[in-house]
């Protein structure tokens, strides 16, 4: 019985989230294993399994490989490296800890950034024999960008340099010089041996020259103050609770500041205001709520609020803009292409977003700013971005919860990037969409048809233009109002500033899509012939117009057949190496997975294919 009350009190102590990072083999997993082991978090059965596995993997005598405690995946234990983030928990009488053990390999940098995104402090391991490495610098930069304030330099394997003070000091001086511009509020350096435990949880007899705290002492006492009650109130609406027809509760978590019943609140994007009627939890109405509380807010007035809205207090409001500048860490093997449409998740809002320009990429070695057109895996860059609709945010430096976002690929749904907003861009603020009195529906009704974008995609020489021309003639003869946009024609005018790199192709399709959308707005059936090789871009086109108005037509001709026809002589030139980035040769073509209309052209006449196209349009209800 007497054991319980202290346990409950212990649960009242505060929590420090930290990560371990640094280069491969610097001993991150071993250090965590040591912390877990020495703070008695390892149970006897886990320890005996560890001893068995250590022996099996070649450890000698009664030595145990502590890294096996955290490298939880079979592939990790086989290769002896950390691939993914592991989260471990331990506590001492003074504090609770959540540790993210992150990989050191450059190819898994994104997993390191993941661990850093939620941490208050980073332990950066440096192998005493190797000193500050490129990966040490990369991880420091990421920690700085992700807003960590405290860094501990654990100079590990100090036993392997005979516990020499001058080796330690040389590394510390070098690191401090490197990190001086990274904006950390504290840098603590500790000489340790994770394997033997020196200065991890107990003072080492081998380093009498070191007078600072042990690592655990430091972790127990460092200022973990992530108290954000003083910050302005921010509440992203997560879910609208409609338990009865006349109840509307806005469920979410207070991400900063605090709120009381009766306080005024404003919906950031729309500017509509009301007062807090009740702050509901399961336990009943609460007088107030603080940062971190999950609550349900009811308001005095009925105003329009949905998931994705940000409720804020009356002072120190967030920025609201559809354009902003942000640091981006790119996490995908597929390059980031400016102009391509991605989805951004900001707070509880999901919105289409494009990178409108990459201002510069950061060289991790020198922190130089480099010009670039695209970003590859693990690149870090400063970019301008534009969202489809205005969003509310704070600079990341001021608020990690309302200043962060992730980028999602619209096709694969992978998380491909992480962003930290620096500041809003004012360019968009004086532009307002003007509502027109006559809309698309009225224009189309006058023409007795449904507007649509009929988008023909396929390889060069597949027959897109030929089929579209015949189909347009048939539609025209039947009394339909049409327009035909042809890739080559558009490139000779509107898009003559664009080439054939991936980035330029994306922009080519983006502009063509916007033109097609304007034409469809005028009530027309718009036939478009573009190679449009990237599935993501065609997906972007589909989202430009309401459901059912974008008809993807895959003109499916095998490349050998296209090359045989070669109407423009381009395949011959490509074969001769006279054209670069030619689709099907040295540039990819991503065939549509589920086109509305799939035309296999082999052995077919263009007339028949055009008839099949118009018949399908009738089937889809576009024409009668």
């Amino acid at each position: 019985m007497d054991g319980v009350a202290p346990t409950v009190q212990q649960a009242n102590k505060d929590l420090l989230r930290f990560l371990t990072c640094g280069s491969v083999d610097d001993g991150k997993s071993t250090l965590i294993g040591r912390l877990l082991h020495d703070s008695k978090q390892i149970f006897d059965d886990q320890l005996s399994e560890l001893t068995r596995e250590s022996t099996r993997r070649g450890a000698t005598g009664d030595e145990v490989d502590l890294s096996l405690l955290v490298d939880g995946l079979e592939a990790e234990r086989e290769q002896g490296i950390t691939i993914d983030v592991a989260y471990r928990f331990f506590s001492t009488p003074k504090r609770s800890f959540i540790v993210a053990d992150t990989p050191g390999h450059e190819q898994y940098t994104r997993n390191m950034a993941t661990g850093a995104s939620k941490a208050d402090l980073a332990i950066l391991l440096i192998d005493a024999r190797k000193g500050v490495l490129l990966q040490t610098q990369r991880h420091s930069l990421i920690c700085s960008l992700l807003g960590l304030r405290h860094v501990v330099i654990a100079v590990n394997k100090i036993d392997l340099v005979s516990y020499q003070a001058n080796v330690f000091e040389r590394i510390v001086v070098e690191y401090r010089a490197f990190a001086s511009e990274l904006g950390f509020s504290s840098i603590m350096a500790i000489p340790v041996s994770a394997r033997d435990g020196d200065n991890v949880t107990r003072r080492s007899d081998h380093t009498p020259w070191y007078r600072g705290p042990t690592l655990l002492d430091y972790l127990e006492t460092v200022d973990s103050d992530s108290e954000t009650n003083e910050e302005p109130f921010r509440f992203p609406v997560q879910w609208v609770n409609r338990s009865t027809p006349d109840f509307r509760g806005y469920a979410g978590t207070v991400v900063s500041g605090h709120i009381k019943a009766g306080d005024p609140v404003t919906v950031a994007a729309s500017g509509q205001s009301s007062r807090v009627k009740e702050l509901l939890t399961y336990e009943g109405p609460q007088p107030s709520a603080e940062t971190g509380d999950a609550i349900t807010i009811t308001l005095a007035d009925e105003i329009d609020i949905a998931r994705g809205d940000l409720l804020v207090g009356p002072i120190l409001g967030p920025e609201v803009s559809d354009q902003f500048a942000a640091h981006i860490i790119w996490m995908s093997n597929q390059a980031l292409i400016p102009g391509r449409s991605y989805l951004a998740r900001i707070g509880t809002k999901t919105t289409p977003i494009t990178v409108t320009g990459i201002k510069y990429k950061i060289d991790v070695n020198t922190r130089e700013h480099l010009a670039t057109h695209t970003l590859g895996l693990n690149d870090i860059a400063f970019c301008n971005l534009a969202t489809a609709a205005p969003v509310a945010f704070d600079p990341y430096e001021q608020n990690r919860k309302t200043g962060s976002f992730i980028l999602i690929d619209r096709l694969s749904n992978h998380t491909v990037g992480a962003g930290m907003i620096a500041f809003g861009l004012r360019r968009g603020t004086n532009l307002h969409r003007q509502a027109t009195l006559i809309g698309k529906a009225e224009r189309a009704a006058q023409k007795h048809q449904k507007p649509a974008i009929v988008w023909l995609t396929g390889l060069s020489g597949a027959g897109k233009s030929t089929i579209a021309n015949i189909a347009e003639r048939q539609l025209h003869a039947a009394g339909h109002h049409t327009m035909l946009l042809d890739g080559d024609n558009v490139r000779l005018g509107l898009n003559r500033d664009l080439g054939f790199t991936e980035a330029d192709r994306v922009e080519n399709i983006r502009r063509a899509g916007e033109v097609a959308k304007l034409l469809a707005d005028s009530g027309l059936i718009v036939l478009c012939c573009f190679i449009s090789p990237y599935a993501a871009d065609r997906e972007m086109l589909r989202r430009l117009v309401p459901d059912g108005e974008f008809i993807e037509v895959f003109v499916d001709t095998p490349i050998d057949e296209c090359a045989r026809r070669d109407p423009k002589g381009l395949y011959a030139k490509a074969k001769a190496g006279k054209i670069k980035n030619f689709t099907g040769f040295d540039a990819p073509y991503e065939a549509p997975a589920n086109p509305e209309i799939h035309l296999h052209t082999t052995g077919q006449q263009a007339e028949q294919l055009a008839e099949r196209l118009t018949a399908k349009l009738a089937e889809l209800g576009i024409i009668r």
Partner: protein
């Protein structure tokens, strides 16, 4: 300090800071799923973690009724007290409870005694779970797994992506930054969601104690009929349990730290008869809770292998 004082303070306001933070995080995760998915379900395994998860869900959606069903995958080898507790819980809370059993497995006579633990787990748990998810077309499923349970679980995301066929590929999980969860999936793909990821076993028991959450009586010490096998106490729950020639069930004061299928879950000797006793015992124990799960040590890294196949 008097325990009864702690319990009357055991409302949200009275919870220790650390538990209050964990509770809020779990609630946020649950609301995220309701807001983003078309057809979510909550896996309910009747154990202590499921009890906490259910309690948190009721809080998360209050004052609305629980907006999703519970699903229990019944291997037909659960302790009788577990099934009684399950039905009583559903009745008491007025919850939509789905129970699924792999009938094909039953027809083939699969069971832990006849087929061995590995085949039993594969057919009656993993396959059964996949059947039930497919049958109802669930696109997100809550599970009560915690990262501190096992080392491959420590690698798990909160939103764990499963490709078609419910396959978990640890190399192809989405980076999970801040609290910005990527909930987007294509048809046929699903997400397993673990709202208790950051809770430890001790957190669970403290929370159960402070919130007065009902749990299966098997967690409390009592005289029960057991036999000693491979160094573990196995409870004789019904006559399907074949005794060896020299085995005679004896009565011992035992309790369960973890609950699974009955011949696969070992009891521990204990005199913990109250929640307070359990918390005290937790603080001094030197063995992990999964020690009682005989299925985990079948083969090296077996949890990871089971998870790849679609296990929770």
């Amino acid at each position: 300090m008097d325990i009864s004082v702690l319990q009357t303070q055991g409302t949200q306001r009275g919870l220790p800071k650390h538990l209050r933070g964990l509770e809020a995080e779990s609630i946020e995760i649950m609301r995220e799923v309701i807001a983003e998915f078309k057809k979510p379900v909550m896996l309910y395994s009747i154990g202590k973690d499921s009890s906490v998860m259910l309690h948190l869900a009721i809080k998360a959606f209050h004052p609305a009724k629980l907006p999703l069903p519970l699903l229990h995958v019944d291997t037909t080898w659960k302790f009788r007290e577990m099934i009684a507790f399950r039905d009583e819980t559903a009745r008491r809370l007025g919850i939509d409870l789905l129970v699924h059993t792999n009938q094909d497995g039953v027809a083939r006579g699969i069971g832990p005694v006849a087929s061995g633990s590995s085949v039993h787990t594969q057919v009656m748990k993993t396959e059964a779970l996949k059947q039930a998810l497919d049958l109802h077309g669930f696109d997100a499923a809550f599970g009560g797994a915690r990262r501190d349970e096992e080392k491959s679980r420590a690698k798990e995301r909160i939103f764990s992506f499963r490709s078609q066929g419910h396959v978990w590929d640890p190399r192809n999980q989405r980076p999970e930054l801040w609290n910005l969860f990527n909930t987007r999936i294509r048809p046929g793909e699903t997400i397993r969601v673990f709202p208790l990821s950051n809770w430890t076993e001790l957190d669970i028991w403290l929370y159960i104690m402070l919130e007065n959450i009902p749990v299966v009586p098997l967690y409390f010490a009592k005289q029960r009929p057991v036999v000693r096998r491979n160094g573990a106490w196995i409870m004789v729950d019904d006559d399907r349990f074949p005794l060896e020639a020299d085995e005679r069930p004896e009565s011992r004061l035992v309790r369960f730290r973890t609950l699974g299928c009955y011949p696969l879950t070992a009891a521990v000797e204990s005199d913990a008869v109250t929640l307070e006793d359990i918390v005290s015992e937790m603080r001094s124990t030197r063995v992990s809770e999964r020690q009682g799960r005989l299925i985990d040590s079948d083969e090296a890294a077996s949890m990871e292998k089971k998870k790849r196949e679609g296990y929770f």
